[in-house]
């Protein structure tokens, strides 16, 4: 019996030695003369999307092959990217959802500046989207099709039952409607306010901050500015809905690393929710009778939303052969046809006018009843600031928002603490200027 053990151990040890002598299965370019260069990329999209990109790119290219891998949900990717960069195991390309995380990654010195190689493609982007890609004069990534924002979803059945004729146009109206729609005893609430310490919470709250006329940072990006009266009013609106009005759940509906709370609306636990395009298919599957409207206006009188841009970033991994291969891949992603595919599969919006004419986009615009609202919302959309400290600021902000929603601190105290932490992060991490 023991002999068997030793034989297994010996064989396994031998196998390990052989594996060690062989090439590691990390992300190496592995290109020799005549053989195609293989590069790897990370994405937080569905496996189906990754497969589509792989098969279509590999079919039309002979010298470069790509292999995609799902890495984590959108809220969890930055941590993985940081870890990989620290140990030198990052892939050749990363397709992410937030250009604001890129300056932090750029501190590793491993991001390739795309302003030269992709100048032509970048020039075709909508100006607001293009400016989000640059940091200290370097272009850290290429914006892809499928720009996301969010709108207000509301349950038409619930609205009819409560006798509310149309979705609220202002947050004050929303508060009144939410109270009418709520029945805490039956665990039914008017609206879902997101719980969790993740990017999504800051992402959604920043929209309300802008709707109240506030700003995240001051003009030279050297200090935070969200602890202004506009910000305090914004957070107070949320806290009131949860704590005083009992119009929003005190339990989190976060699932699988996603904090937007789609399950709350899909299961009928809440009547309203601020959500992005990805939720549309979920709500359709749940067979709800829902409608969409612009996010209600704040105290400034107009609506506002946050914009998420799919971004492809190239890293220095694997030497110049791999970098050139990676740039080829990103250029291909930036073509209108691919942009249209990404737009249609995500339900997002085009990142450049060139995509508008594509059949996939036209079909999406025609068939999706929610499309127009998302497009209109985009006009009042803003992007998050592109500075290295943003990730830290966002984390501090989300933590304090949580504390305020829990009633541990007042909104003013929460924002003051987040502001001091944010300023410390800017001071140590450097700002955009």
């Amino acid at each position: 019996m023991r002999r068997i053990w030793w034989t297994i151990a010996g064989a396994a040890l031998l196998a390990t030695v052989v594996a060690a002598c062989g090439s590691s299965s990390g992300s190496s370019a592995g290109g020799t003369a005549g053989k195609p260069v293989t590069i790897t990329y990370w994405s937080s999209s569905s496996q189906a999307e990754i497969n589509w990109l792989d098969s279509h790119f590999n079919a039309s290219h002979t010298t470069v092959k790509v292999q995609g891998q799902y890495i984590a949900s959108a809220d969890d990717t930055t941590a993985k990217e940081v870890a990989a960069l620290k140990t030198g195991t990052e892939p050749n390309v990363i397709i992410g959802q937030d250009p604001s995380a890129l300056p932090l990654l750029a501190e590793s010195g491993k991001i390739v500046d795309l302003s030269g190689p992709l100048a032509a493609e970048t020039a075709t982007l909508y100006p607001g989207i293009k400016s989000a890609l640059f940091y200290k004069g370097q272009q850290l990534g290429m914006a892809l099709g499928g720009v996301g924002d969010y709108v207000l979803f509301y349950n038409k059945t619930d609205f009819a039952k409560a006798g509310i004729g149309s979705p609220p146009a202002t947050w004050a109206q929303l508060e009144a409607d939410a109270i009418k729609l709520s029945d805490p005893a039956k665990h039914h609430y008017g609206i879902y306010i997101p719980w969790g310490t993740a990017e999504w919470i800051s992402y959604e709250w920043e929209g309300l901050l802008w709707a109240n006329g506030g700003q995240l940072l001051n003009s030279p990006d050297s200090q935070v500015a969200f602890d202004s009266p506009a910000g305090v009013a914004a957070l107070t609106t949320w806290v009131d809905l949860v704590r005083t009005d009992h119009a929003a759940p005190t339990t989190s509906f976060a699932q699988a690393g996603s904090y937007d709370g789609a399950p709350a609306f899909a299961s009928g636990a809440v009547s309203m929710i601020v959500e992005g395009q990805w939720a549309v298919s979920e709500f359709n599957t749940a067979k709800l009778d829902y409608g969409v409207a612009l996010v209600p206006a704040g105290t400034s009188g107009h609506s506002a939303a946050n914009i998420g841009i799919g971004v492809a970033t190239v890293f220095t991994q694997g030497g110049s052969a791999a970098q050139n291969a990676a740039i080829t891949f990103v250029k291909w992603l930036a073509q209108p046809a691919q942009g249209a595919y990404l737009t249609s599969v995500s339900g997002g919006l085009p990142s450049s006018p060139g995509q508008l004419g594509q059949p996939a986009v036209k079909q999406e615009a025609a068939s999706q009843p929610t499309y127009q609202t998302f497009a209109t919302q985009l006009q009042t959309g803003q992007t998050r600031p592109t500075i290295p400290a943003y990730t830290q600021i966002s984390l501090d902000l989300a933590t304090e928002i949580q504390a305020a929603l829990n009633g541990t601190v007042t909104p003013a105290q929460a924002l003051a603490k987040a502001a001091s932490e944010g300023n410390a992060a800017i001071a140590s991490g450097g700002s955009g200027s």
Partner: protein
């Protein structure tokens, strides 16, 4: 009695101990020294601009949430050990009763320890789902307010509860082994003298178990300090850092995004964690040594 060996056996001995020794030095001792060294430097998260900073990192650890993490560690560990020890001891007493079938029941208690923690963590996560999770179903059925992992107190209790659920089986088994090793004749003599079950427990069994109790307590404490998977899946250190233990702080600072944002903070906290662990382990070794001295 060990007599001296001939010289040529030394080479054998050194060859035999080389693998363990070499690997231990390479992967435990050297990295420990590196942790100490790295804790004295500051820089951005990728370490591309390091500068010597002396003990500044230790001060920064305390101010950037590390003090809070140590407090959470204390609360978590005490809660974890208490629940494990009390429930483990009581159930061991129960299973020690000489009734048919109880011996087989022992096997069930290995289950939480052997199944992958990630799998059970996901189960526990769903138990807390609003409206449909088991706990909230029971609570709303009783008319009580629901609980959520986004409330700091609930999150900490949940992590303690889940951690204890996973480990208390080991305490049951260890106590069972200890109970079975108690001298039967003393107990029988006592019951002949008219001592009831409770008196036997209190005056004979419990004092004899005192040494074992401390030992199991130490094992439980070390396990508590190493808790990671449960926190990772259930709460990710939140909400508001309510479940961020010292170890989780190290993980977040080193491999993700912690509050400090500087390299060296993770290492400083790791050093602190090391000193805590070593204090506990030395206690264990000291007790072991004392026991062996008592035996021989």
């Amino acid at each position: 009695m060990r007599s001296h060996r001939r010289v040529r056996h030394w080479t054998t001995a050194y060859t035999f101990i080389l693998p363990v020794l070499g690997l231990t030095i390479l992967f435990s001792v050297v990295p420990l020294v590196m942790v100490f060294q790295r804790s004295l430097y500051r820089g951005n998260i990728f370490g591309t601009n390091l500068s010597f900073a002396g003990l500044a990192n230790y001060r920064a650890v305390i101010s950037s949430g590390g003090g809070h993490a140590l407090a959470v560690t204390a609360v978590f560990t005490v809660g974890f050990v208490a629940v494990c020890m009390v429930s483990g001891f009581c159930i061991a007493l129960l299973l020690d009763v000489r009734l048919p079938g109880l011996k087989q029941v022992r096997a069930f208690f290995i289950i939480p320890m052997v199944v992958p923690a990630v799998a059970t963590a996901f189960i526990w996560f769903t138990l807390f789902q609003p409206d449909t999770g088991l706990f909230n179903r029971v609570l709303s059925g009783l008319g009580l307010p629901q609980v959520s992992l986004s409330t700091p107190a609930t999150a900490l209790l949940a992590v303690i509860g889940f951690g204890a659920w996973q480990f208390f089986g080991e305490v049951v088994l260890l106590y069972l082994a200890a109970l079975k090793a108690l001298p039967r004749d003393v107990l029988e003599a006592a019951s002949v003298d008219g001592a009831g079950a409770w008196q036997r427990l209190r005056y004979i069994r419990w004092p004899l178990l005192r040494y074992q109790t401390v030992l199991i307590c130490v094992i439980a404490t070390l396990t508590g300090l190493q808790t990671f998977t449960q926190i990772y899946v259930l709460t990710d250190g939140g909400p508001e850092g309510a479940t961020q233990t010292a170890l989780y702080y190290v993980y977040q600072e080193a491999f993700g995004l912690g509050a400090g944002g500087s390299v060296g903070l993770a290492d400083a906290m790791a050093v602190i964690l090391f000193f805590i662990s070593i204090t506990v382990t030395i206690t264990q070794l000291a007790l072991t040594g004392r026991r062996q001295a008592v035996r021989t």
